[in-house]
Symmetry: C2
Subunit: 578 residues, 2 copies
């Protein structure tokens, strides 16, 4: 059944606050499984004032906050939203989409944008030895107070916490910049007003952008992801563009069967904007079933295009047969990591290797940080505080194909799932590693070990141009194990890299450790001169604490391409078995 927004008194391009009319239309559609809510093409505006409010703990976002939601798709079973090409323009701290406790949802044919996101864009003018001026257009209100720059939006103010330097020619992060003016580095500088819509930075002795560089001044809020999916299944997002979000473009947790087809995170077209989402383009936490990213564009977002992982809870204390577990990372707090019947295992803090496996019998959430977990099997005597408890059930398969990722800050695809991973036919050009396969139980607490990863027939175009900020190799496999050679077991298994084209100025193709089963076969390597090469050329493939390694059938241009496998140097990429 088709339901038109016009029957709820909302006209396209009317300029009024659409939040209440949309809420009423969604309430109406909730009673009609299979309903399609249709928007006549136009621009619709959303303010937080009369938007539905809910408390959600959203992984990797700011926690313990209620959020105002433009499209609260809560408890919907069988629902399609067809924007027919409309633009949904957000104002203030409005979260565009929440899909919660829902199934069989399709979102299609619309654009999400913000009138003012938390990125402030400016142009560097008058850079000299003592500092540099930034000219900022009226689209980005700000204040300067006590030497600090504060971004100002509708109903919010937030200090700027870093500068991302963009190259005006490539429209991407500038080689040599990386995070060199972010966070702690940023705090070294001070700001003063130096003219109308003009500020001057000084105090950065370690780096300066140049005249003409574009700077993206990032504020800290991560309140409003574009689309948040919680506890839901069978979600299709198709032909949706996201030009801005205050947080990630798409974030799903505890959900299954998620398909993004032509979900394009990219700057607003026909504008001078060089930013899209203010954090990752897509992120999947504790999901299961299958995740498919198909023909998506991930461009100019302020963090990685994709991250798939679950969460290590840290064992705090044993209470009889209950484990008191803690979610250590502040942005993971409040996430329901374990559910009755989930398969789980305990891993050691240092090796990340498992030593006990069972099923969850009961979970008692205490607060956002702590929970009591009871398992079906009796606990082993040697369970230690600091060890990790990992969910084996909530580990999805992942299929990424036909996607393009480029010009963002940071890395490419972060893959930490034991499910079957197929990464094929993508074109990647990221300032850090294009693919990162990590896992750690001490800082980010992102689990778990991979079991089957195929990376094939992709094009890696001049990745890692902000080396050494965001990765070592173009494919970087670096679980956080301090002394990998001191353990016999291998954390990751079965990573096959085949038939890819590496067109690269930075010929460090793969780095890694703690892998059983690594093949690098039938790839083509072409050297490029698009960026300056580092003075010292590291190993083209550099692996340690690895077993079952095969490197064979690769074609590469002339040049010294030396690899190192478990401490042994090997010339060229032709044929190695270890």
């Amino acid at each position: 059944m088709y339901v038109s927004m016009e029957s709820f008194g909302l006209q396209p391009d009317g300029g009024e606050d659409a939040a209440l009319a949309v809420l009423r239309a969604i309430d109406y559609c909730r009673g009609i499984p299979g309903a399609t809510l249709v928007f006549p093409e136009g621009t619709y505006h959303f303010w937080p004032e009369k938007a539905l409010e809910r408390l959600y703990y959203i992984s990797n976002h700011d926690q313990e906050k209620t959020r105002k939601i433009a499209f609260p798709l809560i408890g919907m079973n069988g629902f399609t939203l067809d924007g027919q090409g409309s633009t949904f323009m957000m104002h203030g701290l409005t979260t565009p989409f929440v899909i919660d406790n829902s199934s069989d949802i399709t979102l299609t044919r619309f654009t999400i944008d913000y009138e003012r996101s938390t990125i402030t864009q400016g142009t560097v003018v008058q850079a000299d030895e003592s500092g540099f001026d930034v000219s900022i257009s009226e689209d980005y209100p700000y204040e300067v107070s006590s030497g600090k720059l504060i971004a100002v939006g509708e109903g919010w103010k937030e200090p700027v916490k870093g500068i991302i330097v963009m190259d005006p020619h490539t429209k991407a992060p500038k080689q040599g910049s990386g995070d060199i003016l972010m966070w702690g580095y940023y705090d070294r500088g001070t700001v003063e007003e130096s003219g109308k819509r003009r500020i001057r930075y000084s105090g950065f002795d370690h780096y300066s952008p140049e005249n003409g560089d574009i700077v993206l001044l990032q504020s800290g809020y991560r309140d409003c992801p574009g689309i948040f999916v919680n506890n839901s299944r069978n979600i299709l997002v198709e032909d949706v563009d996201l030009h801005a979000s205050i947080g990630m473009g798409f974030i799903a947790q505890n959900s299954e069967y998620l398909h993004l087809r032509a979900f394009n995170v990219m700057p607003r077209p026909h504008s001078d904007r060089l930013f899209s989402a203010s954090a990752d383009a897509t992120h999947f936490v504790n999901c299961q079933g299958k995740i498919e990213l198909e023909n998506c564009l991930f461009e100019n977002q302020m963090d990685d295009p994709c991250n798939v992982h679950s969460i290590y809870a840290q064992v705090s204390e044993r209470h009889g047969e209950d484990l008191l577990c803690r979610l250590v990372h502040p942005q993971q707090r409040g996430i329901q990591v374990f559910h009755p019947d989930d398969r789980v295992r305990l891993v050691r803090n240092d090796s990340l290797l498992p030593y006990f496996e069972s099923q969850v019998k009961a979970v008692r959430a205490i607060n956002a940080e702590y929970m009591l977990v009871e398992l079906e099997a009796p606990l082993p005597a040697d369970v230690n505080g600091g060890d990790g408890l990992e969910n084996l059930t909530r580990t999805p398969d992942l299929h990424v194909h036909g996607c393009v990722a480029r010009a963002n800050r940071a890395r490419g695809f972060l893959i930490t799932t034991p499910g079957k991973v197929l990464f094929e036919g993508n074109v990647i050009s990221t300032p850090g590693a294009a693919i990162k396969i990590s896992g750690d139980a001490n800082y980010w607490f992102e689990s778990g070990a991979v079991r089957s990863v195929a990376i094939r027939e992709n094009v890696f175009e001049d990745c890692n141009y902000c080396y050494p900020f965001w990765g070592r190799g173009i494919i970087d496999i670096d679980p956080e194990i301090t002394n990998p050679e001191s353990f016999e077991g291998r954390y990751h298994e079965n990573i096959a890299i085949e038939r890819n084209l590496f067109r690269t100025f930075h010929p460090v193709l793969a780095t890694g450790h703690s892998i059983a089963g690594f093949t690098f076969t039938n790839n083509v390597v072409e050297l490029s001169d698009r960026y300056r090469q580092a003075d010292e050329l590291p190993y083209v493939i550099d692996l340690k604490a690895c077993s079952y390694v095969e490197v064979s059938g690769n074609r590469c241009q002339e040049g010294v391409l030396v690899s190192r496998i478990n401490g042994k140097e090997i010339q060229q990429l032709a044929a190695v078995k270890e």
Copy 2:
């Protein structure tokens, strides 16, 4: 069935964090209707770290925050907690008790206290023309930063927002002080460190405390009421002392049949503390059934001993047959004011008089501020934005007897309920009005009009000694109606004040307007010299826009006691009918 805390591994006076053991004991008792959880006598400590966390919107407290709860009595039906004389000592921002969605709960024989509340106590030394020093003991950590004083607790810091000046002889607010160094007045001053554990205030040109005065420096948090009751029925709190809370002592909303017997809000005995709760001692919002306060002591809390009211929602817009209503006061946001089948009425913004009555059919909460309300009857054509929507169902009867209230900041008993009110046999000595009967739909939004109030056989001892800060008459009836004489209808009805003893230096016994049915009969008035009298003596009873007034049979000492009833001056209190 008796359950001892010892079976959960908790020893009295053990010093450890009791939160997790208490949570497990409560979880256990939830399965045993009628259980009594018994604490071996001793002191038990509670930190927030491992305490249960929930989001609650608590009326008249800080909103949109999750709270960590020491005793989360959620979904309990038939439960007694017997402390056997124990002390529950709170640390950091821990909320002691939440009773939510529960029935038939008894709390008895314990003390609630905080190691460090948000009140910082000090002694004035070296007061002179330019300012005054305050000596602060090590019990109250603080910082001075940019001319501001910041109270420091376990895990929190909060700027001081005002000074309450206490008389070292009476241990009560000092005559002439009131709120004269609070909020905006406080912001005129600055602070600097003037020695070890010593600060100096300057910049208050309008008032200074004197050497030896005790000052209570109040920070703003209202996060942790002592006992919060939500959506529950049949609650008895008996023989419970509360020495500190970061918020109110007891606050109930949307609950019924609440009985406080010997619930004593008072400073920690055998200490030099002159403060108890940091806000009202008790507060009841949108309750129904009966509220009984019996033999309670309300002493030295930083706001009124008791306030009973419902909430006017403001009509924002009409949407067809739905009313979009708004909770305007920030501390009322998120409270579920209306429920299906509640009887409600619309009142005019200026007169507060009703013009339409119906029943609630459906409520759609949108966010903490807005809701859509659908009524059973068709809406009248002349419903206006700004009018109030009032709940007539959630209006409790109130019986206050045998209570003592004294030495607190602000007023006495605030009564705004159409239920039957009986206030008898209490002893009240408050710095403002002893009883205040108000109602307003423009600032506090506290409803509703009284229908039957009997105030009899109480002793009012030198109330209003901080006049003019917190009331006009000892009994002050002041609904917020700007031009009461311009309306024929009367807001309040049937207030009978009889057989009370007013022993008072300030012979303004009753002030009021907009009342139909006011009797002041057979009271005794004795003049006291405990405080300085105001130079100009106002009317002893001062009423306007009142009907059915009777003043008769009162006995009073010699002296000119002139009343004014609807503009007419009347000598003495002997016999007036109007």
